[in-house]
Amino acid sequence: MSTSLKIVRIHNELLGTYGDQGNADVLSFRAKARSVEAGVLDVSYLDVMPTDGDIYLMGGAEDAAQLLSLEALQRDNNLQAALERGAVLLAICAGFQIIGNSFEASGKKVGGLGLLNIDSASGSNIGKKRFVGDIKIKSNVVGCELTGFENHAGYTTLGAGLQPLGSVVVGHGNGDDKYDGAVSGNIFGTYLHGPVLARNPEFADLLLSRAVGEPLEPFNDPLAIQYAEWRRKVTK
């Protein structure tokens, strides 16, 4: 077990439009509560991506920012190298699309990082409206319901055999109204903002346990549980 967790927040100045930077704060908070040292490192568009991170985070963005983030990630293979080493990645919304095979932004189709076997289209190009509102999914991966807020025009299809993060209970998710996100090994993608780890402490703990390589000791945080349960109850 690593004694100190390095949480890497990727391009928050570009991928921070929808408040997803809070995911790093929640991970760090819940790690420290277990006496696991944790630090958040912000890596900007201009920086070189470190290869020694334990958890990498990507958030939602507008089109032009999404393209810039992709361009920066394609400068080197550092994120891929970290993931091959077993690092954890949580990618949300625009970040989720970036790590797929392809997506559409600013009216053009571009190739993504290919870390997940998914393809995303802009819903507006195929006559779909933007998906805006509260969302709830049932996640077998995490083992509970997850709530969040979605705000995207993206329509994502999963390659054969790829596992979604969960099935949609309320909202739209990947656009098919059935599933949200995708999971492959330690790579997690989703459309849930909220931030998703603030709304769903179980998901935060799953990512932390994957990063430290063993189950975490219990952490009783009544406020976190109250918040999560309340959102699950009222999102209908």
């Binding site: 408040g19 930077q21 809070g22 929640v26 032009a64 807020f149 705000n151 603030a198």
Partner: protein, 376 residues
């Protein structure tokens, strides 16, 4: 024929307004505007034809700046204005029904393009453009693009902008008359991408310069930096000067949207807060050790509370913080993770009772919570 129909529509609208005020105890500013626009879709254009129109828009500070600009322009003649913040099409139409040679109108960001096209304004004052109500606006760039279209077409209009905001600079880049005002540069919270060309925007402190040419290095007028209230006061005076009005002294504090209430022997100063930019500004202005934060997430507050995590509440550390509102739990948990002790209660009254009589309490209230308290 059309004049008669317009008069009829105005008459009907006024009648509805009276009914709304007398029997429903509402402001009456929305209903008459809605009726007149329904009966006469062209009404904004017709009603503004004989007026010199000045428009004010931006994410934050619209209502108070509109009040100041109305005061400035009133030295030239009578002013029609939508002073209660009813800033959609019908609020604009309602204000224009008043007979006056001048109209100073606050306009919602998404309604601005339409109102510019219909009123052919003399002056448009653009204060700022940051993230707000993303469930409705979707993206900041999307709003800036719509503004740019409208601003480019308005060839007879003078735009007064805070050029330190790259989105405003971009929106008016192709406009014929622009007064660019700088406050020495200020890093824009959502300004990492050049709105004009999509490249990574180079910032050096508060100064931006893109290889495509967009920058705030050249301004027509430069002032020292200050609070948002102060900046809006300066901008209002410059907008007034374009019309030939003399600048007036404006108390920058008066441009903060605050009300004061005496409750249970304590004094609450309640400030309107809406989005990351206005929360950050409001937190900077907290001058008491007793703080109440009220969070709602209705339509005008923004349905998504994720942005709470984009604001640093570190300045509240060590203060007594009480949280309430329909989404108080979102705020309580966010503060909890930042390590700021707080108490979550069910109502504003209960929050006030947490402080001993005679306390001075700083209250930061979400949009709908602010107006609920203001009307009490």
């Amino acid at each position: 024929m059309s004049a008669a129909r317009l008069s009829f529509a105005i008459g009907l609208g006024r009648l509805a307004s009276v009914i709304s005020r007398v029997f429903l105890r509402k402001s009456g500013q929305t209903i008459s505007g809605r009726i007149i626009i329904r009966l006469y879709p062209n009404s904004i254009k017709l009603l503004s034809a004989e007026k010199s129109v000045l428009l004010v828009s931006g994410t934050n500070g619209k209502t108070s700046t509109t009040k100041s600009l109305s005061q400035i322009v009133s030295s030239l003649g009578k002013v029609a204005s939508n002073t209660t913040g009813s800033n959609l099409n019908w609020g604009v139409a309602n204000a224009l029904m008043n007979h006056a040679p001048y109209a100073v109108l606050e306009v919602d960001e998404l309604h601005l393009p339409n109102v510019i096209a219909e009123t052919n304004p003399k002056v448009v004052l653009l204060l700022n453009l940051t993230r707000d109500q993303l469930h409705r606006m979707h993206e900041v760039k999307r709003v800036a693009d719509r503004w740019r279209d409208a601003c480019t077409k308005a060839t007879e209009t003078t735009f007064v902008i805070d050029v330190d905001d790259p989105f405003l600079n971009y929106a008016t880049q192709s406009s014929s008359q622009v007064v660019k005002v700088s406050f020495g540069g200020r890093r824009h919270p959502d300004g990492s991408v050049c709105p004009a060309c999509g490249k990574y925007l180079n910032w050096s402190g508060g100064v931006y310069e893109c290889s495509c040419g967009l920058n705030n290095k050249t301004a027509d007028q430069t002032f020292p930096d200050g609070s948002a209230g102060y900046r809006n006061a300066v901008l209002a005076n410059i907008a007034g000067e374009v019309m030939g009005a003399k600048p007036i002294d404006i108390d920058a504090k008066a441009l903060e949207r605050t009300i004061t209430k005496e409750i249970g022997g304590s004094t609450a100063t309640i400030r309107l807060t809406k989005n990351p930019a206005s929360w950050t500004e409001a937190l900077r202005g907290v001058d008491s050790n007793n703080v109440i934060l009220i969070l709602n997430a209705r339509q005008v507050d923004g349905l998504d509370t994720s942005w709470l995590w984009d604001v640093s509440y570190a300045s509240l550390k060590g203060k007594k913080v009480v949280v309430c509102g329909e989404r108080g739990l979102d705020m309580a948990y966010r503060l909890h993770v930042e390590g700021i002790e707080n108490t979550l209660v069910d109502s504003f009254e209960e929050a006030m009772s947490a402080f001993p009589a005679g306390s001075r309490v700083s209250v930061l209230a979400a949009y709908t919570a602010f107006f609920a308290l203001a009307s009490k």
